[in-house]
């Protein structure tokens, strides 16, 4: 059905975003192949060695990447309601900043402090304009997660200044 339609359309234009995705996947397939070639094959006898399925995976990824590139050249596939939406990059930037802050701070400051910073940044990205309230909620939530959820699950998250002060 889609094939018939695109043939009827006079000239479908290359969709740049979709082409980039196809290209990215093709590069990834290449990376997978390179990594496959570096898998040591043990001299031990095995009917199917450790490389067989990685080869199949790289080949599959490459094939689907090429098919995606073909689809991109025919005008792409992104749904119209996605294409029309103007992305709010500022919001994404604040969320991403929160994530990066979390990775950077969780080691030196501990989980609760890092989570509070992330909470404030992400909430700001989503349009909240009350950083102090957000910080308080974030801190309470992080402590609840630390002392409740993490303890119940028996996982160990990095303790920092705040946790040690509270006897964590």
């Amino acid at each position: 059905m889609t094939d018939a339609h695109s043939r009827q359309r006079p000239r479908a234009r290359l969709a740049p975003a979709e082409a980039l995705i196809g290209l990215g996947l093709l590069l990834f397939a290449g990376l997978t192949l390179w990594q496959t070639l570096s898998i040591p094959v043990s001299p031990m006898y095995a009917q199917v060695g450790p490389r067989v399925f990685p080869y199949i995976t790289s080949a599959g990824l490459a094939i689907f990447a090429v098919l995606l590139l073909v689809q991109a050249a025919r005008g792409g596939w992104q749904p119209a309601d996605e294409k029309e939406v103007e992305l709010n990059w500022k919001a994404v930037a604040f969320v991403a900043a929160g994530l990066i802050a979390n990775v950077a701070l969780i080691g030196p400051l501990g989980f609760s402090a890092a989570s509070t910073v992330m909470f404030v940044l992400v909430a700001h990205g989503f349009g909240s304009r009350r950083p102090l309230r957000d910080a308080l909620i974030g801190l309470v939530l992080a402590l609840a997660a630390y002392f409740g959820f993490a303890r119940a699950l028996g996982v160990n998250i990095g303790a920092g200044l705040i946790e040690n002060l509270l006897g964590g």
Binding site: G60, L61, W77, G127, L153
Partner: protein, 507 residues
């Protein structure tokens, strides 16, 4: 009968005070995350996977099953009141349910969906009870070659048949294969795809992948579309009691939806989207008041798909418990919980772990009863959850995502991997790639590799064994037909000239 005595033993497991409590916790949590748009059972169970190190397997699976069923109930509340499906399986419910809510019949819509879910969930659970032993006796005939072919069939149906595009679904699946292969190859001891990082030798954790794709990806996606217009919650009006007419218009759709949903869920294809859409189409065609569809909201269009959704959710448990074959992201994560206990899911599970399997099945009956109580009289409570402001909700989700991933290894590499996968999940949402095949491929891919190697060891490296064993060959032919059949059909149709009527939604 043997099945009934086994089930009775299962109930004695499920009715122990501790397990009842786990069931209550699971169903409550499941309803809550089902209500919250963007949060699903797969993500929640992934975050709770570390609990498998703390409690007995029965308790963990009763908790997970409660979450799984609960999310199906909760998702419909959001669909009806917010028009944003809380779950992909409740998209169809939103079509008529939200229209009903807008014309002041939210109460009836919620009631028919909760009671329909109960009817379908209970019949579906009975289906699991009686079908599972039958499938097990069939599955015992399967050798490694048949298992491998069955997995190939599941790969095709899960990624290529169910989504909107076979190419994108398969690309997702192969990305999952890649993620599943990272780490030490258990058969030969060789590291694969680790880039020399010792952190990756143990493989990528399914928690990181599921939380990255579903929680971080979703948060980025919602943030990016923040100005695309919010949804308003329709205030809950109208009595929760259904009138005589509404009952008489509901019970047949419930049963028909169950009859459509359970078999499709139980097939090694799974997925709740197809049965819900099918049920919707059937109800629209059979309805005595077709003019209500798409205008004021038809109760049949809520009752049928809701029942189909819950029945197929029950059906998915059949291949998971009997074959070890997960056909949804949630089932794949539950399967990894089995692996975490060192339990091999498959046809022997019913024999080796009867208390676990039958306790789990019995707890599903209990969960259904709890859920109908939780969701009908207490619906006002869940509506309140919908009012959590988005900034706090999504910031909070990310805090819990950190706990779930950093807690397992305390390695910043896992956090970085989590956020990279979140970025990939965002792109996948934006460009309409399905995410479930990633998780399924990650869990099922290595299992398929193991079965393939076993088959090759038995056959002495002879690949043709996959095609000469009749059962295996039949499964592969089925997979091939599922993948290329629709294409060939269209090709033939276009050769014969353009068809006069355009069928919407078949692209």
């Amino acid at each position: 009968m043997d099945t009934l005595s086994q089930l009775a033993n299962g109930f004695s497991v499920a009715f122990s005070p501790n397990n009842l409590l786990w069931c209550l916790v699971g169903t409550t949590l499941g309803t809550a995350i089902g209500v919250l748009p963007g949060l699903g059972p797969a993500l929640t169970i992934a975050l709770l996977l570390p609990i498998t190190f703390q409690v007995a397997p029965e308790a963990a699976f009763i908790l997970f099953a409660g979450i799984y069923y609960g999310a199906m109930y909760g998702g419909s509340t959001t669909s009806i009141l917010l028009n944003t499906p809380g779950e992909s399986a409740t998209i169809v419910t939103a079509l008529e349910g939200n229209k009903m809510a807008r014309s002041g019949r939210a109460g009836a819509a919620l009631a028919t969906s909760a009671i329909g879910s109960f009817v379908a969930g209970t019949i579906g659970t009975m289906g699991v009870t009686f079908l599972a032993p039958v499938v097990v006796s069939l599955a015992l005939l399967f050798g490694p070659a048949e298992y491998f072919s069955l997995m190939v069939l599941a790969f095709v149906t899960v990624s290529a048949v169910l989504g909107s595009s076979a190419v994108r679904g398969l690309a997702s699946l192969f990305l999952g294969f890649y993620l599943g292969m990272i780490g030490i190859d258990l058969q030969t001891g060789q590291p694969r795809f680790t880039f020399g990082l010792t952190e990756l030798l143990d493989g990528t954790n399914v928690i990181v992948v599921a939380v990255g794709l579903f929680a971080v990806g979703e948060t980025l996606y919602v943030a990016a579309r923040r100005h695309a217009g919010g949804d308003e919650i329709v205030p809950l009006r109208g009595s929760l009691y259904m009138t005589r007419e509404e009952w008489s218009r509901s019970w047949k759709p419930w049963l028909r939806g169950t009859a459509i949903g359970f078999p499709i869920g139980a097939m090694p294809a799974g997925g709740a989207e197809i049965p819900t859409f099918l049920s919707y189409v059937v109800e629209k065609r059979l309805s005595k008041k077709p003019e209500e569809f798409g205008t004021t909201g038809a109760i049949e269009g809520v009752a049928g798909p809701e029942a189909a959704n819950n029945a197929s959710a029950a059906g998915v448990l059949v291949p998971m418990l009997t074959l070890g074959l997960p056909t949804s992201a949630t089932a794949a994560i539950m399967l990894s919980a089995f692996q975490s206990y060192g339990i091999q899911p498959g046809p022997l599970l019913l024999d080796t772990q009867p208390a676990l399997v039958w306790g789990l099945i019995a707890s599903l009956y209990v969960a259904n009863v709890l859920l109908v109580v939780l969701n009908l009289p207490l619906v006002g409570l869940w509506v309140r959850i919908l009012k959590i402001p988005a900034p706090l909700l999504y910031a909070g989700i990310l805090v819990f995502a950190t706990v779930g991933t950093y807690g397992i290894s305390q390695s910043p590499i896992d956090l970085i991997l989590l956020y990279v996968l979140g970025g990939i999940g965002f792109l996948m949402r934006r460009f309409d790639f399905p995410t479930a095949p990633v998780v399924i491929g990650m869990i099922l891919g290595p299992m398929a590799e193991t079965e393939f190697r076993r088959a090759m060891t038995i056959s002495g490296g002879d690949w043709t064994v996959l095609f000469t064993q009749p059962l295996s060959a039949a499964l592969l032919v089925l997979a091939f037909t599922a993948l290329f059949g629709p294409r060939l059909y269209h090709l033939i149709r276009t050769w014969r000239g353009p068809s006069p009527d355009h069928v919407p939604g078949d692209a």
